[in-house]
């Protein structure tokens, strides 16, 4: 079966598909990934901040019941497998986007899957901030909001960038999966040609492109994280 994938005929066919469909697919993949990541950060970042500052010994202690509900909410969303989540949120997707299939529709489950994950990543980044520095800020008379904006977030920027890189590459993987519910992009091509029509060569090329995009995101992210970190002396 696989030997058929590399015949001259298969090559010609693949080249034709690449020329006609891959440009759009790459664009859709990038577009969906970046948009979903951005929206997930908008929701996940404040929640991650709350998870840290709202603790009993945090800079802005919040009621215990609130923290318990927030934690449980995030954990529940995180433990639903993405494939199932995509199906579960269909009504919500319809309500927001107007349809439950297509590229835009795939953004909704992606954001819902990603923001709890991002909240946890933000939480772990903020926990790395030296508590002595927070105490310094308190002793200087900073309000809780000033501590969040001027100390906790700026001090953890390198770690936040590293974690944003993890988030975007993970979301890229999910977005490929959303090809199943008709989300566009390289995932859709891989599934449509590879799974439904046995055109393995096309699937391989789509996968290789996904790997390349992950690699590019990772490199850029690592560079930015290192570049932003002023704790490193020898630069």
């Amino acid at each position: 079966m696989l030997s058929k994938a590399f015949t001259a005929e298969a090559w010609n066919e693949a080249v034709a598909i690449i020329q006609s469909e891959f440009g759009l697919a790459v664009w859709e993949t990038l577009y969906v990934t970046v948009l979903a990541t951005a929206l997930a950060i908008i929701i996940g970042l404040p929640l991650g901040v709350l998870l840290v500052v709202g603790e009993k010994n945090g800079v802005l202690p919040l009621p215990k019941w609130f923290m318990a509900i927030l934690g449980a909410f995030i954990n529940i969303l995180r433990s639903v497998p993405f494939l199932i989540l995509m199906i579960l949120v269909i009504p919500l997707t319809r309500a927001i986007v107007g349809t439950s299939v297509g590229t835009m529709a795939s953004v909704v489950p992606l954001v819902i899957a990603a923001f709890p994950f991002i909240a946890r990543l933000v939480e772990s980044s903020l926990r790395e901030v030296n508590p002595n520095i927070i105490e310094m800020a308190q002793s200087t008379g900073a309000s809780p909001f000033q501590i969040i904006w001027k100390v906790m977030i700026p001090e953890s920027v390198p770690s936040l960038i590293s974690n944003a890189t993890i988030a975007i590459t993970t979301i890229l993987g999910y977005s490929a999966m959303s090809g199943i519910i008709g989300g566009g992009g390289l995932g859709k091509i891989a599934i449509n040609y590879g799974y439904y029509r046995y055109k393995y060569l096309v699937m391989f090329i789509a996968v290789i492109l996904l790997v390349l995009i992950v690699e590019i995101f990772q490199r850029i992210g690592t560079k930015l994280a290192v570049k932003s970190d002023k704790r490193l002396k020898n630069k």
Binding site: N130, N132, I133, E135, M136, A137, Q138, S139, T140, G141, A142, S143, Q146, K150, V151, P154, E155, V157, P158, S228, D229, K230, R231, L232, K233
Partner: protein
């Protein structure tokens, strides 16, 4: 003036047991304006807790802290934050914002109160001048030595023109030479700007170098308080003696106790004692021979301080005679060393 009245702080033990830790027990201190006040004690004595109670980073369980007539504990959160501009703090680990330049670190407290960027930076440059690092404005803390980082931290603490500077082990992470320079800077600031400084330390040398008065804290209690020179010459509590004598005094365990040996600790509190060949006098006048098992002395100002452990062979009565003889010498204190010590 800072008045600390009946200050008590009780913590719940960290490991979740129902036990409590009394970090401070009924502490009473009065610190006058413009002075450099030392608070010294061993690790765990409650120094950090005390200093954190002064600016209410830690709420006292009982008692009050009154700064210039204002009861710190009675202030609302917002008022307290405003008051903290007047009572600033420096730390053992400097606690600079690592992702900000030195200039921006010094601007930090000014930003918090909404000073315009240009004005804040101008003030920060003046402060860099004061702490002697005008060329480090655009450097990041990681590029600075410990001593330089502490200078930046001091500049930051001065930005809001405070009346009181709290220094929690500010030199404990520095080598002796840098420690000296930072202490000089603190002294300078105290003199020129009239800022009251409260210096927390576990090193007597720090107190000796810059403090006017000192309180000795042991297990959360003030066991001794007074002028630094008085404490040095007449340390009354055992905690004070431990601190005054270098290396915590001579350790009586240095040599195994010989059969029939009595030991005394001789404490010198002035130059007179060292001018006379005491041990020789003891042998000549009383016929008692004493061997020096260990000694540790130093001079402070014109006086010498220190202590030595003497071993005397013979009965307890013989030792007591020697003790009486030595005690007759001005500025000498003699105490028996318990044999099982």
């Amino acid at each position: 003036m800072i008045e600390i009245k009946n200050l008590t702080k009780t913590f719940n033990a960290r490991n979740g047991e129902n036990r409590t830790v009394e970090a401070l027990k009924n502490v009473n201190l009065t610190i006058s304006d413009g002075s450099i006040y030392g608070i010294i004690g061993m690790s765990g004595a409650g120094k950090s807790t005390l200093v954190r109670c002064i600016n209410m980073l830690e709420r006292p369980t009982e008692g009050s802290v009154i700064i210039d007539g204002v009861d710190m504990g009675a202030l609302k959160e917002k008022e307290l934050r405003a008051k903290r501009k007047e009572v600033t703090m420096i730390f053992q680990s400097f606690n600079l914002l690592m992702q900000r330049t030195c200039l921006k670190n010094i601007c930090f407290p000014l930003e918090l109160v909404g000073v315009k960027k240009a004005d804040a930076e101008k003030r920060a440059m003046e402060l860099l001048e004061i702490v002697g690092l005008p060329d480090k404005a655009n450097a990041y803390p990681a590029q600075l030595s410990g001593g330089q980082q502490q200078r930046i931290a001091i500049a930051r603490a001065l930005a809001t023109n405070p009346k009181v500077l709290l220094c929690d082990e500010a030199t404990s992470a520095l080598d002796p030479k840098t420690t000296h320079q930072i202490l000089e800077l603190i002294k300078d600031i105290n003199k020129k700007l009239g800022i009251t400084c409260i210096v927390i330390t576990h090193q007597m040398s720090v107190v000796e170098e810059i403090c006017d008065r000192v309180a000795i804290l042991e297990n959360g209690e003030v066991v001794e308080e007074g002028e630094v020179t008085d404490i040095f010459s007449h340390p009354k509590s055992s905690a004070a003696r431990h601190l005054v004598y270098p290396d915590g005094g001579v350790n009586p365990d240095i040599l195994a106790l010989r059969e029939g040996e009595q030991r005394v600790r001789v404490v010198f509190n002035g130059a007179v004692a060292t001018e006379r060949p005491l041990i020789a006098q003891l042998a000549i006048d009383l016929g008692i021979e004493a061997s020096i098992l260990g000694a540790s002395t130093k001079s402070i100002g014109e006086r010498a301080y220190g202590n030595m452990i003497l071993g005397i062979m013979g009965s307890k009565e013989k030792m007591l005679r020697a003790k009486e003889y030595l005690e007759a010498v001005p500025d000498v204190i003699v105490e028996e060393v318990e044999n099982d010590a």
